[in-house]
């Protein structure tokens, strides 16, 4: 009788064990678009680890990061690999929920030279800890409608020579064609704030976490925005609304300051019918700015850290994977890996930009962009600075008084 049972029991045990082995998988949590990048790496991963499938969890941009906020601190259920957008990275770095990749066995600091300087620095802390590896970068770019500026007799040098020349170009455009230079005066403020940040200077805070909002950079940014509004150079509409997209499509707004990633949005859904009419230019006054980017990190509570590290390296340090994300039409992600940026594909003309090899420009910008550290309180400061600018634009409040009030409110919020 016992012998009769031995075989089925052994078979059951084997089946259970193999199902347990099969159950081991690598969970990767990302937001839309970045999931496409992960999918591009899957064939290579499956060749290397046919027995370890990747479970891809994709949630909307804000939902993904909100979920991570509670998930990473929980005792169970943390993904093995998480994608984090630069806006949120400061908060997760400060929360201490990410693995320090500078430590054994990762030694990610050895990889520093392989990445775009500003992106790698954003993933690090002052104590040398490395909390993520950059996947793609978004150097600041001035996108403009060449056909509209040509008609108004304005060339690219006029547009980007200096901040004053940008305003002059807007005035000429308005006078000659009745078009708007920018969608909103806030765009001018954002453009200047990012472009004028020096190496080591955060967008809103210094490295010790003190708010910088009363610095000359903010005063100048507010002055420029006020000029744009007073002279009617902006359409007074909110970005990322239907109206905004419609005005970009119809050519009522002639320029947009954004990260290089905006090229993908522009050509896919914002204004695909305007192909050939847009050009990409460096930011005014020969400045460069960090404007978004994606990172991969390993949560401290991840179950498969070794595999996660291998997967992250595949995603970020493998030139083929990085190039694939740049070539994918749905992605057009600019690699954070320097060797991928030096690939001849970067020099190819881009039909949407009238044959301009815009990626060359982005490569130059990415490599020249100063590192601007991310602070966990950046979203708080952004919200209050925007409210301060509204007070200047709509209630004619004195700029320095508005910034002083913003600083007080920021301090009140962050010193709790």
């Amino acid at each position: 009788m016992k012998r009769c049972l031995q075989a089925p029991i052994a078979a059951c045990a084997l089946a259970l064990l193999s199902s347990a082995a099969l159950a081991q998988n690598l969970t990767v949590a990302v937001f839309p678009k970045l999931d496409e990048a992960v999918k591009l790496a899957l064939p290579v991963w499956q060749q290397r680890h046919p027995d370890i499938p990747v479970r891809l969890v994709t949630l909307g941009y804000a939902d993904h990061h909100n979920r991570l906020a509670t998930q990473l601190a929980g005792s169970t259920g943390a993904p093995d690999v998480v994608g984090i957008e630069s806006t949120y990275l400061g908060r997760f770095k400060a929360a201490g929920v990410l693995e320090n990749l500078a430590m054994t066995p990762y030694h990610a600091n050895r990889l520093e030279a392989q990445f775009v300087h500003y992106a790698y620095t954003q993933a690090t802390a002052r104590n040398g800890a490395v909390y993520a590896l950059p996947a793609d970068v978004g150097p600041g770019t001035l996108f403009y409608r060449k056909d509209l500026f040509d008609k108004a007799g304005i060339n690219e040098a006029d547009l980007t020579g200096s901040w004053a020349s940008l305003l002059d170009a807007g005035r000429k455009l308005k006078a000659r064609s009745g078009l708007y230079l920018l969608a909103n005066a806030h765009d001018m403020k954002n453009l200047y704030l990012r472009a004028a940040a020096e190496e080591g200077e955060g967008l809103y805070f210094d490295q010790a976490g003190r708010p910088l909002v009363e610095s000359p950079r903010f005063v100048r940014a507010f002055e420029l925005a006020r000029t744009v509004r007073r002279e009617g150079l902006d359409a007074k509409i909110s970005p990322w609304t239907n109206e905004w997209a419609a005005m970009l499509r119809s050519g009522k707004i002639a320029a947009v300051g954004s990260g290089s990633w905006f090229a993908g949005q522009l050509s896919s859904w914002v204004a695909p019918d305007t192909a050939g009419k847009w050009r990409a230019a460096q930011l005014p006054a020969h400045r460069f700015a960090a404007w978004g980017g994606s990172f991969y990190a390993i949560p401290k509570r991840a179950a498969n850290k070794a595999l996660a590290w291998e997967f992250i390296q595949l995603l970020t340090t493998d030139p083929k994977t990085q190039l694939a994300t740049m070539r994918a039409p749905a992605l057009q992600a600019l690699p954070a890996l320097v060797t991928a940026l030096r690939d001849p594909y970067v020099d190819t003309p881009m039909p949407f930009f009238g044959g301009q090899p815009a990626r060359q420009l982005w490569r130059h910008a990415a490599l020249a962009t100063p590192a601007s550290p991310l602070d966990r309180n950046d979203p708080v400061a952004e919200e209050l600075v925007n409210a301060a600018l509204d007070a200047v634009l709509f209630k004619d409040k004195d700029i320095r008084a508005a910034l002083r009030d913003a600083r007080t409110q920021i301090e009140q919020r962050i010193r709790r």
Partner: protein, 300 residues
């Protein structure tokens, strides 16, 4: 000594109660207790429970001194009034018109009235956003035909409030119409007949006979509007996702969401949520005292 029995029916009543109790504990009592616990703690949610330190009443003091919280509370109250008053005036008029004019078709009219209420708030808000677009919106096109505008419906501090109030009003006027219609249908026909015999017709009959009879429903419906108004989120979040110019459309619920999920301040957001709850309950009690008993009688 005989053992005490729980009830003459054994455990059966408790088994019948169990599903409700279980759901109540899981989805009401535990979150309620959790939010009370959180209201006295501070720290980034991303650091986990261990990172949330006990801070006593600090979160409530912060809420009290945060100008944006008070600003959002003011916006919420203003939007509640701006959307609520016209909503009920419209619903009272519509329900009376349906009751007196449509007869048997009033059931269908009620169904039509409910459509905005059951339609997705997001879909409605997106349609409104397109209608209210400054440059391309239909409303501004119509205004232009009579030589008015353009009005910056979604960016001007006052007009964005009007836009949100109009959207809320459009969405809930039908629901209130159905409530009033139900109350009208429950009125004894003899009452209206007697009023007619006594010579009360038209407006006088409505004001002196019908309206007082509708009082319980008016108080109930407007209380529901008050509660809904204090929790206003969807409509303002879609029409003014960043809170609007100078945060003029930022409701308290939207501010709590931002504070908790964008800024990671769960403690502060929860304390404000409790203050919002207290404010709402106070308002309702005051409202009931004012309209439910005293003032109405004096007016009548």
């Amino acid at each position: 000594m005989t053992p005490r029995r729980l009830s003459p029916h054994g455990v059966a009543p408790y088994l019948f109660l169990a599903p409700f109790l279980l759901l109540f504990i899981l989805f009401v009592a535990v979150p309620f207790a959790g939010s009370l616990w959180l209201a006295f703690r501070h720290g980034d949610a991303a650091t986990g429970l261990a990172g949330l330190d006990y801070v006593g009443w600090h979160n409530f003091r912060f809420a009290g001194s945060d100008p944006l919280f008070w600003h959002s509370l003011g916006n919420t109250l203003m939007l509640t009034v701006m959307a609520g008053v016209p909503q009920h005036l419209l619903a009272l008029g519509l329900s009376w018109a349906i009751y007196t004019r449509l007869g048997r078709a009033s059931g269908w009219a009620g169904f039509v009235c409910m459509l905005p209420y059951v339609t997705s708030a997001i879909a409605i808000a997106l349609v409104f956003m397109t209608l209210l677009s400054t440059e391309y919106g239909l409303i501004n096109r119509w205004l232009a035909l009579v030589g008015l505008g353009p009005v910056d419906w979604l960016h001007d501090e006052l007009w964005v409030k009007v836009s949100i109030a109009a959207l809320v009003c459009w969405r809930y006027a039908g629901w209130n119409t159905v409530l009033y219609l139900t109350a009208l249908q429950a009125l004894p026909a003899s009452l209206l007949d007697a009023a007619a015999i006594d010579g009360a017709t038209g407006w006088r009959r409505y004001w002196y006979v019908v309206l007082p009879q509708l009082r319980p429903m008016i108080v109930l419906a407007s209380t529901l509007t008050l509660i809904g108004g204090c929790q206003l989120f969807d409509e303002s979040f879609i029409l003014a996702p960043d809170g609007g110019t100078s945060q003029s459309a930022l409701t308290t619920s939207a501010y709590l969401y931002r504070l908790a999920f964008v800024n990671g301040d769960l403690g502060g957001a929860t304390a404000m949520a409790w203050l919002l709850l207290v404010s709402t309950v106070t308002l309702i009690v005051a409202y009931q005292l004012l309209w439910g008993r005293g003032l109405w009688r004096r007016m009548a």
